[in-house]
Symmetry: C2
Subunit: 104 residues, 2 copies
């Protein structure tokens, strides 16, 4: 199975913002940022079907927000923090801070 990843130069701001514009994908991104190591898709405790979970990870990968690596029959996910920080300085930090802040 080939997993396409956009290069750093190919990262597109609207696509990245769209990938981040879903509550469950935001939760995945926050958990990846906290854990700071590759994590299996099943480790996020999201109450969604497997196909929905697969969809969310694919949207994040295709936008360049995460990297997915095959590990046996599962995929390991990690945040492309350096690529995002390089192309869109401050964006990921602001999104993580906003998502993790207590509600107003």
């Amino acid at each position: 199975m080939y997993l396409h990843h956009p290069t750093r130069a190919e990262l597109d701001l609207p696509a990245v913002l769209h990938a981040l514009s879903d509550p469950q994908r935001l939760r995945i991104v926050c958990l990846l940022a906290e854990r700071d190591q590759p994590c299996a898709c099943s480790s996020f405790g999201l109450d969604v079907t497997k196909s929905t979970l697969t969809h969310h990870f694919r949207v994040l990968r295709e936008a360049g927000v995460i990297r997915q690596e095959l590990a046996g029959t599962s995929k390991l996910n990690s945040l492309r923090r350096e690529d995002l920080d390089s192309r869109f300085p401050g964006l990921l930090a602001a999104v993580l801070a906003a998502e993790l802040a207590p509600a107003a």
Copy 2:
């Protein structure tokens, strides 16, 4: 005509990111940030139909990114910069910087 605006406390991060995840809406937001004064919808030089333009401004208003005020038969738009900065510090600045930066 009543134009609904979410309060500052009602601003929702996924909704704001979704509103910003479209190239034409990003352009509108950048132009509003540059101009720093209320602007009519027709003043943005976007090559889209009137109904598409109305849609984009409505998405931005309903997410709380812009404020729309009726002025005769048109609407004047302004950026809710203070509300966004208060709820999501650094987010708007990072998005504007990324959008206005030269492509990688």
